[in-house]
Amino acid sequence: MKLITAIVKPFKLDEIRDSLSEVGIMGLTITEVKGFGRQKGHTELYRGSEYTVDFLPKTKIEVAVKDEEADSVIEAITKVANTGKIGDGKIFVSSLDQVVRIRTGELDEDAI
């Protein structure tokens, strides 16, 4: 099983969720994060002092999937999260050794 972690622009969230359900993904977990990258932050003045907002708001989407679903999930995300502008974000894929559904105790692929 794979854990697919996507860091995306927050306002894309609803579209991504819809795109994921089209490929059969029914569960995901999101976290508000802040990102630092090639996309430049902006400089503000507060009471005459400059400050740089260089951590930009991003949304992290985590989806646990069966190995064979990984590619379609990545594609489903990429397709809609891509605005072509710097800062669109990244997808990280890692392996999961085990998954448990707490309610039922089901394991691994059954638990996803």
Partner: protein, 406 residues
């Protein structure tokens, strides 16, 4: 004066005093909004405490010192005594212009205002107990003495120094004490980079900071409007009306002046500058709210608004004076402008005004400085760096300002 006139004046002073009391909420909200979340509970605590201390100390001795009447020792040295016993039994029931108690009430909220100015400037780094100790001294002694010099009939009054509602006696006094405190305290940790450049420390709640300024705006009608001290005759009523009109016009001018300055210099309209502009407009007109026309009052306020914008920027960048809410600029620098601006609509001599401003500043700055310096040597007035980083709320109050348990 008829009994009814006495009654109307008393009622008017009480309503005015209630409006000024309300300024305590204004300072509390303004300051709570402009500090970080980790220090907002402390700001609330400080404002409750300082207001209460001011009320008690002014009753204990402040009022007597400021208005010693015949028991004054000289035009420089007031008399000393207490008004703790102020009660109906003790009041002269053969009435004067207004009741003694209404007079006390109107005056006591002024001294609280002066102390409130300090609280904003020292925010986020001054320890609670030394702050309260200083509040005792300022409200029980430092403020009343200079108040005596002008309003109690002391030498500044004799000199012709004009200060209708206290651009100097209240606002410059508070700001001078604030400046002394800030210089001794030093800036907040992280306020200046190693290369000396000024770093922004954004406030945590702009809507309540805005609310605070609007509360002050409202309260100021009592502050200036009540300072006519009578509304029973046509000429008094007309004067009070003009004071309201001008106070409002000057505040409006201050907002527009500060906004325009911000927009032209930085390209954006920093809302905290608009807020400071309102206060600056109000402070500007406070020394003579009765004499200018509405148009001139607007202009005086607008200049105050422009001044506060540049003052905030320069005190910070050039002088590394770290004043989280801009109190020293809005009440001090603009307070001086207000004192001087009296000459625009009256024939008061500029020299009297300069002497007045200097006297108030020097007295308050030096005595406050000495007290705070001694306090600092004795117990330390600045919170430890660890407490400052964790936030004073944790260190001294134990209550988070915006807990979001569950």
């Amino acid at each position: 004066m008829s009994e009814l006139e006495f009654a109307l004046n008393t009622f008017y002073l009480l309503m005015s005093g209630a409006l000024v009391m309300w300024m305590a909420a204004g300072f509390t909200m303004l300051e709570a909004g402009l500090v970080r979340r980790k220090n907002a509970s402390t700001i609330v605590t400080k404002n409750f405490g300082l207001f209460s201390i001011a009320c008690v100390m002014y009753l204990v001795c402040g009022f007597y010192i400021m208005y010693p009447g015949d028991s004054a020792i000289s035009s420089l040295i007031p008399g000393f005594g207490s008004t703790l016993g102020l009660g109906m039994g003790s009041q002269d029931m053969s009435y004067g212009s207004y009741s003694e108690a209404s007079d006390f009430f109107f005056q006591v909220v002024f001294v609280a205002t002066a102390m409130s100015i300090v609280s904003g400037a020292v925010a986020e780094r001054m320890k609670l107990m030394p702050f309260f100790f200083f509040a005792i001294v300022l409200t029980g002694f430092i403020y009343p003495v200079q108040g005596y010099w002008k309003w109690g009939g002391g030498f500044l009054d004799a000199l012709g120094y004009a200060d209708f509602a206290g651009s100097g006696v209240v606002h410059l006094c508070g700001a001078a004490a604030a400046l002394a405190a800030v210089l001794i305290l030093g800036p907040r940790t992280g306020k200046y980079a190693e290369d000396g450049s000024s770093l922004a420390i954004p406030g945590s709640n702009i809507p309540i900071a805005g609310l605070g300024a609007l509360i002050l705006w409202l309260g100021w009608f009592g502050f200036n409007g009540g300072s006519q001290l009578a509304v029973n005759t046509a000429s008094d009523a007309i004067a009070v009306g003009q004071v309201f009109l001008n106070t409002n016009a000057s505040a409006a001018g201050g907002v527009l002046g500060a906004m325009a300055a911000a927009r032209l210099v930085t390209g954006k309209v920093d809302v905290t500058m608009a807020i400071n502009g309102a206060i600056a407009g109000l402070v500007s007109i406070t020394a003579a709210p009765d004499t200018p026309t509405g148009g001139l009052a607007t202009l005086i306020g607008a200049i105050g608004g422009v001044i506060v914008f540049f003052s905030v920027t320069y005190l910070d960048k050039k002088f590394k004076i770290d004043d989280p809410v801009g109190a020293i600029s809005a009440h001090g620098v603009v307070g001086i402008w207000g004192i001087v601006a009296v000459c625009l609509s009256t024939d008061v001599a500029l020299s009297s005004q300069v002497i007045g401003a200097l006297t108030i500043f020097v007295w308050t700055f030096i005595v406050s400085g000495l007290v705070l310096y001694a306090l600092d040597k004795a117990v330390g007035i600045r919170a430890s760096e660890a407490d400052e980083i964790a936030g004073l709320d944790q260190a001294e109050i134990g209550v988070e300002s915006y807990a979001d348990a569950e």
